[in-house]
Symmetry: C2
Subunit: 438 residues, 2 copies
């Protein structure tokens, strides 16, 4: 058998630069230049020039592949391919913004894979091997990370009606710049509402090590963990590091150090790997080398598969905070915020994704996502499918975040299979997912 006798469909996909694994890898690795850091990561916080530059590249590349690109009011980009005028769209995508000194894969992999999956489906439609019931749009959601502008998952939350557009546009970064100003500065304050979603698909790096440990190349997400944050303020009294005797101090920072360690050790009251807790942000006032700190504000992040575990951890911590306050004569205030109950993805979507993996000869595992994703927001308004690929050493939000080319290509193949089925209408009768506790 020579090239001319292979099936048309396979040969066509492999020969087209849009549709080959090597074209995908070339595009993906090209994106790492935008906001590249010396440590091999990227720094592309939402609305920065580096973020603007990679989005310019995305727009140009999508246009080359035959898509029409327009941004909505919160700066999310939609690259549309409209085969059936007026029909709803299947959305597929992720985000091109990153954490400060973040990794090359988080979000970006999902956008570039979505573009290539949609281009492959477009080729199928053009070849007559797929009859679409919906159009397709590749999405680059604005500000998934939330490191510069809180809250995270901003673009998809606005699209899903979970966050008010005007509130989001008025959000300020630590320097006082608003989202609206950052979008103007990068030319991404759009005016074209995004299309209504018939369904949504997203592929992302796992950011944990469950797939790596089990040697399984593809994860299918059936639920998100229950998460919540606590804003903790430790209020002591400012005094002089030189002259004030130890017994006369009410040091907010030593008390806050006990809070940080309590947050870490509370996991010992739970089965291994059933809960994660962190303090990522901590600010000292007045933060002078020769002043005993007056106040420390910190953010506690609690995440567990079961809501009751988060609730119990929270109660244990509040008890511990009261002990620290009493021991040290300081005040420890705690305020709940950003509570996100467990969300379930539709079972039919999980089945569909497992079938797509099997068709590619790939083993898949069903698992929960510990992190928030745009798919969790979109799943509230459209039946959504979320896929994972392995993360080496389970690390993410750092420069050494890594996923192999082979794993990325396997994921792209399964995402393409999922997208074909969604475009064909396979989830048309399925309701969106929702809160397990609702």
């Amino acid at each position: 058998m020579n090239d001319s006798t292979s099936t048309h469909e396979t040969a066509g996909r492999e020969d087209s630069p849009a549709l080959s694994a090597s074209a995908f890898l070339r595009d993906f690795h090209h994106t790492s230049r935008f906001g590249a850091t010396s440590g091999g990561g990227i720094d592309r916080q939402a609305g920065t020039p580096e973020h603007g530059a990679v989005r310019d590249w995305f727009e140009e590349r999508a246009q080359e592949l035959g898509f029409t690109v327009a941004g909505d009011g919160i700066g999310t980009l939609f690259a549309r391919r409209e085969w059936i005028p007026g029909a709803p769209f299947v959305l597929v995508g992720s985000h091109l913004d990153s954490q400060p000194l973040g990794g090359r894969f988080d979000g970006t992999y999902g956008v570039v894979a979505a573009l290539h999956a949609a281009a492959a489906v477009d080729a199928d439609v053009a070849a007559g091997t797929l009859s679409p019931r919906h159009n397709v749009a590749v999405v680059d959601w604005f500000n998934e990370e939330g490191s510069r502008f809180a809250p995270s998952i901003m673009g998809s939350s606005v699209h899903a009606g979970l966050l008010d557009l005007d509130t989001a546009l008025r959000t300020r970064d630590p320097d006082g710049t608003t989202v609206a100003e950052a979008l103007e500065a990068t030319g991404r304050r759009g005016g074209t509402p995004g299309p209504t979603a018939a369904a949504y698909a997203e592929i992302h790096i796992e950011q944990g090590r469950r797939l790596e440990r089990s040697g399984i190349p593809v994860g299918v997400v059936d639920r998100s963990w229950h998460t919540q944050k606590l804003l903790v303020s430790v209020v002591g009294e400012q005094s002089h590091t030189g002259a004030t005797l130890m017994a006369d101090r009410r040091d907010a920072l030593t008390a806050a150090a006990q809070v940080v360690l309590a947050v870490e050790s509370v996991v010992e009251s739970f089965p291994p790997e059933s809960i994660v807790t962190s303090v990522g942000q901590l600010d000292v006032e007045p933060n002078s080398p020769i002043v005993v700190p007056r106040q420390v504000d910190l953010v506690v992040d609690l995440r567990a598969d079961r809501a009751e575990d988060v609730d119990r951890a929270r109660r244990l911590l509040l008890d511990r905070f009261r002990e620290v306050a009493a021991d040290r004569g300081v005040e420890v205030r705690s305020e709940d915020f950003d509570v996100r109950p467990v969300q379930r993805f539709p079972a039919a979507g999980v089945d569909l994704a497992e079938k797509a993996a099997r068709d590619d000869g790939l083993e898949s595992a069903v698992l929960a996502t510990l992190a928030g994703h745009d798919a969790v927001a979109m799943n509230r308004v459209a039946p959504s499918v979320m896929l994972f690929v392995p993360s080496t050493d389970g690390v993410s939000h750092c420069e050494r975040e890594y996923t192999s080319d082979a794993d990325m290509v396997s994921g792209l193949s399964v995402l393409t299979g999922v997208l074909r089925r969604l475009v064909a209408g396979d989830l048309d009768d399925v309701a969106p997912g929702g809160s397990a506790t609702a």
Copy 2:
């Protein structure tokens, strides 16, 4: 006995607005308006508009009292009264800058008391009851606090030749403003070199509670504590607070919390009140609520009466830092800086101050200063006398810092007695103080 038959000297001092206790208290309490905070303190960091405003007031008030005011290149103000043209000057003063949300007494008390003590001595000279061998200059040293521009004790260190003027002028605050720019903005970039000091005197609040506990109104400082700082960097790895399992993290902040608590508990290896240790400044990178911290930089402040105690505390801490690093798979780097050996004030100056207190019928106690002061720098180049008045509850660098009017007036009286003796040349044959370990 009625007013007209009291001695001329006493009656003259009490009737002149410059020389009465009430005039001093009126001036002192007036200064609390500049940079007043809602909590009863002041916020007048060096080179800010609030600092500029209180210095404008000082210049005007000194001129009213017959002094000639000029600033030097680092923005220290000298208010001169030159009885003997060309003779050296006795300097007396402190500083008008404050910590952020600092107290009304720290530094400011010493400047206003110096102005009134010098005015009283001037009245003595005018009345012919004192024959001066030196002139007098009241000093407001620039940037004693160092909270905005490090290092602290800047103006007096430049005057004493311990710090290079150009280096000091190029120092930047956290917003990037230089000392030179801040001085220009407040009109205090002067060009008149300060006078050479024949001797120096300073009165300051104790900032501890030794005088209060013993019920003694005046302290005479015979030495400064040995102090040093450590710049500690804890380097872990950035990861995702949601997705990264606890076992896969190398969290810089939980390790830094152990460092903070180790710094506090190291004092338990020493006799009570023989050492103080603190962490006043701590910065988290990247300081995002959903990122496990990559790096924490913090400043450790160690102070003890004996250099060997500081050295032993430092060794114990470095051992503990190594344990934390090994336990957690992070790096803990530590760098020594700002090492200030014990400095002794001349014994003749201590005797002179005790005599001045006895002449006022006041008990005095000899003690060490745990904090740094302009007098510690000046003592390197001129025989110096440093006095303390009690601090209620021993607290300082905070809004509730407090010293009673009665204690301030007692201190002013002793300072005036000290200044009379210095102007009369009582320390002329005494060498400057110096390092105990030199």
